[in-house]
Subunit: 375 residues, 2 copies
């Protein structure tokens, strides 16, 4: 028996969109060489075979009246099969080259770091097999002591709330150090678990220099913390991958979209939300990805919303499906429409609508659950 | 003697630019609350004093025909005095809110992680007190073995080249593992040092998940590596800060601008290059920051070029001045103009113009040094 030789080595496909007036064919050729060999190399005689194995090639170009698209194929072997070398290759230096937007990626199975829980694992962890999950956000975002955090949990302790998270702005501040927040909240969280017979998760915001952040995450989990929140675009996908791969950090990871607009909101530059908050988050190990909702307080088109949610949940080889978390200005009134459009595999995420609700947090949680029943 | 009570606590000022049609005053108020307390909090009775200490306020608004500007003052105590919590606060969630561009930051002295070397320290390390430094980039970017890297160094071993760096695309690949590249090059690099009586630095590209990257950096330095290259926008400023603060990593850090265009190239969104490649890099600990030059192969305006270079070198309390590294398509012909505009505190960075030069790398280095003499 002879070993099977595959027809072509594993490849990464990247699709770019250009505004009208840009020669997509020419730009695609610049990308295919510039983002692999870095140079056409007239004087690299004798290296032809090695270079041919590394160079990208233009797979397709499509031009219409308003824009054009090009897809470039890169050898996967040019990367470490991680998000860091992937992003550097497909859009690193080229991002500086002119109006172009990275709009899609097709990735081999082995690129990235698998989410540990995904939708199925998280449902098992919180004991909720079917309905959308409900997550609260501590509010106000700042100005609370660790004791205040515990009191906010006490205010919802006899509800069926599934998760709570820090506001993404809250770091490891002298006024409420991160580990102290967890320590103050832990008894109440474990009492909720014992009363209900199912977990209540607190996604603690991890921050700091990369080394300090990793150490903080390990320390939190060692003291019983049962979920972590990460500002992935601020700290980097490679940091999320490190958390998702760390044997000491066996807890769900919640990805916050802070700074995503700086990469995705401009029309003709940057990277589509479907990648930034969708495919790349899932490939970097997030179990829940928070994102704006079109019914919320941030501008987010139905198209972006649908594309992000699809990227997190659609079948992708044997990659776990992960939870979208529609956020920012979410009120009970918008829940039925979200559920109608996207079904039950959602984490409904609400801050002010719970902790700044006129009738109090407990009544707010009840209102959210009522909104789940009227569907 | 009574302790001095300062009039106002340390503050961070952030300036935003809005396109015409946006109400800058209203947006600034949204930022001042939304990026601090997160909620106006009508029901947060009893917390007024704590909240007042955290909330931002609108310092100024300026409107002209084509655009408007607003400056918001944030309490520095809302951050950990690092770049991660800084960026999350000034532009995290708000980046998703609509057309707005972060164009300036005024930071207290204690925000960030100090560059270990800066211009003075790096000049001492390479023994070049006055002229611009010359840095080569291994080319082709991919397809070389560790042995090939060593041969490229051999080709410039009897020149006065000051530094060499990996291409930013080159990760820890099976074809040329990072540590093996260093091991293959080390004897030649140390021979250059001994021959010249001054260091020749090789900025090795560090990559991988955040934990692996930090471990790789420590392993390289433990084996004698004398500089590191980091794709800061891909791996995150908090990763650069970790490297700059790590007691085991006492080597200059070279920041690459890969992915910066995704944050900075759009006109009305994202973050100005002066911050992304300038102030934030310096505050995160970079000793050399590579950036496009207006004479090079990437589009970069004279305004952006000047603003980035100024941000890296202008006096800023007792923060070290750090080296700008004009890059991408740099040829000997453009060196006199760069030097005329910006003086001698530059790292001239050239790849193809050295390793794809018709007469060979040694002649290319000579041509670059000749270009320094004709000034």
């Amino acid at each position: 028996m002879t070993p099977r030789v595959p027809d072509s080595p594993p490849a990464i496909l990247a699709t770019y969109r250009f505004p009208s007036g840009v020669n997509a064919q020419k730009q695609a050729e610049i990308i295919a060489i510039g983002q692999t060999l870095g140079s056409t190399g007239a004087h690299f005689a004798g290296r032809e075979a090695a270079l041919a194995a590394c160079r990208g090639d233009v797979l397709s170009v499509a031009v219409n009246e308003h824009e054009s698209f090009a897809t470039v194929r890169f050898p996967a072997a040019n990367t470490e099969r991680d998000i860091g070398t992937l992003l550097t290759m497909v859009f690193g230096k080229y991002s500086l080259a002119g109006p172009a937007r990275l709009v899609d990626l097709t990735l081999p199975e082995d690129v990235g770091t698998r989410p540990r829980f995904g939708i199925d694992g998280l449902r098992a962890k919180v004991g909720v097999p079917k309905r959308p999950l409900l997550m609260a956000i501590f509010k106000p975002a700042l100005g609370l002591t660790a004791h205040d955090h515990a009191e906010l949990i006490r205010s919802v302790a006899d509800t069926e709330l599934d998760l709570i998270k820090d506001d993404e702005i809250l770091g490891n501040l002298a006024s409420a150090p991160t580990l102290e927040r967890w320590r103050a909240c832990r008894p109440l969280i474990e009492a909720m678990r014992d009363r209900r017979g199912r977990n209540f998760l607190y996604a603690v915001n991890v921050t700091g220099r990369a080394d300090a952040l990793l150490a903080q995450a390990r320390a939190l989990v060692a003291e019983g913390a049962n979920a972590l929140l990460v500002n992935v675009l601020v700290y980097g996908y490679p940091l999320l991958e490190a958390l998702a791969a760390d044997p000491e950090i066996q807890v769900p990871l919640v990805a916050h979209p802070a700074l995503a607009g700086a990469l995705s909101l401009a029309p003709d530059h940057g990277i589509d939300y479907r990648l930034v908050l969708g495919k790349l988050m899932r490939r970097a190990g997030a179990d829940i990805v928070l994102h704006p909702a079109r019914f919320g307080s941030l501008p987010f088109s139905a198209g972006d919303e649908g594309a992000v949610i699809a990227a997190l949940r659609e079948p992708a080889g044997d990659w776990p499906r992960v939870f979208p978390g529609p956020s920012a200005g979410i009120k009970p009134e918008v829940v039925p429409a979200l559920r109608q459009d996207y079904g039950d595999d959602l984490v409904i995420n609400a801050g002010s609508a719970i902790f700044d609700f006129a009738k109090g947090p407990k009544a707010a949680v009840t209102a959210f659950f009522d909104s789940l029943e009227i569907y």
